[in-house]
């Protein structure tokens, strides 16, 4: 350790060098976590006494008391399964409704949250604990490791999150750091961090792609590197696609083979876990050799299974194809072609699978960059960013929003305010208006996702703008502003512009989405755009028709006396037809009914206009007229 900092002439000393605390980079992963530090642009992962950089993201609350994180916690898994948690990252920011999906994946007793948030809790070691608390234990262990290695206090960190983490999960990650006594300098997207690690190392320029395939998630990002600027052009992914799927296909095949041989009757959850563990080993072996075999023992009955790389490749081909499809969509979003990619970076343990490497190479037309350990590269990039933020640097990181943010409008439609891949920080506003005469409140429903209908997007928050002064429908001007900060966190505010009634809310997510919905939401906007279009048109037709009904009703209430009984009867019938049509789903019928009503109501509208003119000319006051009509 240096006792005295000596600077070359012209070099600026680090502004925080005197404070004695260091800023680290942390990759808080689903399976493993890594902490790293950068000095003078050179990042290094921090190792334990045994020389290991990876800390398994496993937390144990042993019966003997205390908390254990990492390898030792993993060893306790078999002995005290009820006291050990793994893969808690999957639950960050998740609500009760997400539970059924993870129930089979995570063998824990899960409770719906209570109080202010409805984030789930796990019953571990006899106590309900939130994913935030559990993640905080991992962060605390990483912090301790860093302090031991650096012999200095560590109080600040850059923490990475999947690009596709939504607002809820980002907030939860930030909260976990706070619980662990770490100030989060910045939440950085994992692919961006990986690019940072490669870019700074090599002084690269041009278009770079990051292909990040982890255990349970896939991210693909495109960045442009230019003279120290890292500009994210577009990003996309799937939160339910990863190496775990590869394991599952192998395990399913083995269990099917047992069944075929008449050994299949005793498959319970424990058996599935055993098969998955063996499948994982076999998968890893197939990265090194062309074939492998395994011995699976369930309920004391062994079976033997052989698997060649060719077989494995065809079993996972559909998953790999899906990642490439997402990659192509991201390229299209950025308006780029695959052959413009200058370099493609591989991140995540699952990119060790040979088929993944060959397919990625084929997409980019060049061999992927693999010279930084794919398990460490994200933490190394985070460490570089931590140094850049505290020490000052020429590097500039320009990231984007991964998912569109919008508001619910009439008919359950989504009006996008911040489209995906908008550079952050950003502040964008949109104006809305009232739907009914005298409307004094407006419900603001904030959603995240690519689909056109609210029900297909993730609900982030709801609040109500109150105190709108009475005005006719459409006269109020309600401006809703979305601000996304550099961490990707959202604040929404609403204001009625003619009177200045204002309300502001930090989005506290409502966590109400199931895992399946989440997976669907993330990258299916394109596949569903056509259906969405039809639904949008239907919803719009309904809104328009309902608006006309309201207008007709108001006019009839006021000037119904202008009509003969026959005219009134016809109009009422046409009205009823529209009323019935808007309850259904036949857009043509809605439009036809609305048109018929409009045609019929034309003479009525003309009569009203004529009278309006006559009355205006007659010089009577409005009150007089109102009074006369009322009688």
């Amino acid at each position: 350790m240096t006792l005295l900092d000596i600077h070359e002439p012209g070099e600026t000393p680090l502004p925080h060098a005197g404070e004695g605390t260091l800023a680290v980079g942390i990759d808080l992963g689903t399976t493993n976590s890594v902490v790293a530090i950068a000095r003078e642009g050179k990042p290094a992962a921090l190792h334990d006494e045994g020389g290991r950089a990876l800390v398994p993201s496993v937390v144990a609350y042993p019966a003997s008391g205390g908390v254990i994180v990492g390898d030792e916690a993993r060893l306790l898994m078999a002995k005290e399964p009820r006291n050990v948690v793994a893969s808690v990252k999957r639950l960050m920011g998740r609500g009760a409704a997400d539970l059924h999906a993870v129930a089979g994946v995570l063998p824990y007793e899960i409770e719906a949250g209570t109080g202010q948030t409805d984030m789930v809790k796990l019953r571990i070691g006899g106590k309900p604990r939130s994913p935030v608390e559990i993640s905080a234990e991992i962060l605390r262990a990483l912090r301790t490791r860093a302090e031991a290695a650096l012999e200095k206090p560590v109080e600040r960190a850059v923490i990475t999150v999947p690009a596709y983490f939504d607002d809820a999960a980002r907030t939860a990650t930030r909260d976990a750091a706070r619980v662990a006594g770490l100030e989060v300098l910045r939440l950085v997207n994992e692919p961006t961090a990986a690019a940072l690690a490669y870019g700074l190392d090599k002084g690269s320029e041009g278009l770079y792609a990051v292909y990040d395939l982890g255990g349970g998630t896939f991210d693909f990002s495109l960045l442009r590197l230019e003279k120290g600027v890292f500009q994210v052009l577009a990003t996309g992914g799937d939160t339910a696609l990863g190496g775990d799927d590869f394991d599952r296909t192998i395990a399913e095949r083995m269990l099917a083979e047992r069944k075929k041989d008449g050994l299949g009757n005793a498959i319970d959850e424990a058996a599935v876990k055993t098969a998955l563990a063996l499948a994982r080993q076999m998968k890893e072996q197939l990265s090194e050799r062309d074939q492998t075999s395994g011995r699976l023992e369930i309920a004391g009955v062994p079976s033997f299974h052989a698997l060649t790389r060719t077989e494995f490749d065809s079993m996972i081909a559909a998953y790999v194809a899906r990642t490439l499809e997402i990659a192509r969509h991201v390229l299209a979003d950025a308006g780029m072609k695959a052959d413009e990619i200058h370099g493609i970076v591989l991140v995540g343990g699952s990119t060790r699978v040979p088929l993944v490497r060959t397919e990625v190479a084929e997409l980019a037309g060049k061999p992927p960059l693999v010279d930084i350990d794919p398990d460490e590269v994200v933490a190394l990039g985070a460490a570089l960013q931590a140094e850049a933020l505290t020490g000052g640097s020429d590097t500039l990181l320009l990231d984007v929003t991964p998912l569109s943010l919008g508001l619910e409008t009439m008919g359950g439609l989504v009006e996008k305010v911040v489209p995906r891949n908008t550079p952050i920080p950003v502040q964008l506003a949109q104006e809305f208006t009232t739907y009914q005469d005298g409307q004094s409140a407006m419900a603001i429903h904030v959603v995240q996702g690519e689909r056109e209908m609210v029900d297909d997007c993730r609900s982030l928050a709801r609040f109500e703008l109150l105190g709108i002064p009475p005005m006719t429908a459409g006269a109020a001007r309600i401006r809703v502003t979305f601000a996304v900060d550099a961490d990707g966190l959202l604040t929404v505010s609403a204001e009625e512009r003619t009177t200045g009634v204002q309300q502001r809310i930090e989005v506290k997510p409502s966590y109400g989405l199931s895992h399946d919905d989440m997976a669907d939401m993330l990258y299916d906007s394109l596949e569903n755009a056509e259906d969405d279009m039809a639904r949008r048109l239907l919803a719009e037709a309904k809104v328009e028709a309902k608006r006309n009904l309201l207008a007709i009703d108001a006019a009839l209430a006021k000037d119904g006396a202008l009509l003969t009984a026959g005219e009134r009867g016809e109009l009422d019938a046409a009205r009823a037809r529209v009323g019935k049509a808007v309850e259904g789903t036949d857009r043509d019928e809605i439009n036809a009914a609305a048109e018929a009503l409009e045609t019929l109501s034309k003479p009525f509208a003309e009569k009203r206009m004529d009278r309006g003119i006559r009355e205006a000319l007659s010089g009577l006051s409005v009150q007089d007229l109102e009074g006369r009509v009322g009688n």
Binding site: E226, E325, A332, T390, L396, P425, Q427, A486, A529
Partner: protein, 170 residues
């Protein structure tokens, strides 16, 4: 301050992507919140607001169509909100016909060819804009921009259709 002024660029239809990037990167170097992590809250808030405004300006001026729409609005051309009913009957017919053709396309090749025509149309219409702006012919600018907006949307719909065909959903 309008987007052009914010980036120190002349308010013109024609804009070199490289000069836009250069101006944007230089200003972001100055204002990005990453540069203000250790500064007082007030300065951080100011930087964040400035960076957000820069991002909005950059995003708007980066794409030829959004740039043209923005410039037209600066010149006082009023366009209906995005997604509102098309009030030009000629364009309405064109849109309906094109949508129907797209809906009937069942192969990637058919969709690609429709998308190619739309893109060519888009380029042609974009190339027409400088002349209209020069003449300051507002009704013609409005008409051209509405059509461009539709063509842009059509290209996106074609992409969706293509993705569906590829995935066997059609």
């Amino acid at each position: 301050m309008d987007h052009f002024a914010r980036l120190g660029l002349p308010a013109a239809l024609d804009l070199e992507p490289a000069s836009l990037d250069k101006a944007y990167f230089a200003l972001q170097r100055q204002w990005h919140p990453d540069r203000f992590v250790a500064r007082p809250a007030e300065e951080r808030a100011k930087a964040s607001a400035e960076a957000a405004a820069l991002n909005d300006a950059y995003r708007t001026l980066k794409y030829p169509l959004s740039r043209a729409i923005y410039l037209a609005q600066l010149k006082g051309v009023e366009l209906p909100g995005d997604g509102k009913t098309i009030d030009d009957p000629e364009l309405l017919m064109e849109v309906m016909d094109a949508r129907e053709e797209l809906h009937e396309a069942t192969s990637v090749a058919e969709v690609d060819s429709l998308a190619r025509f739309a893109r060519e149309d888009l380029q042609k219409a974009l190339a027409e804009l400088p002349r209209l702006f020069l003449a300051n012919d507002k009704p013609a600018i409005r008409k051209a921009l509405l059509r461009l907006r539709y063509l842009d949307k059509f290209a996106e719909e074609a992409r969706a259709r293509r993705a569906n065909i590829e995935r066997g959903k059609v």
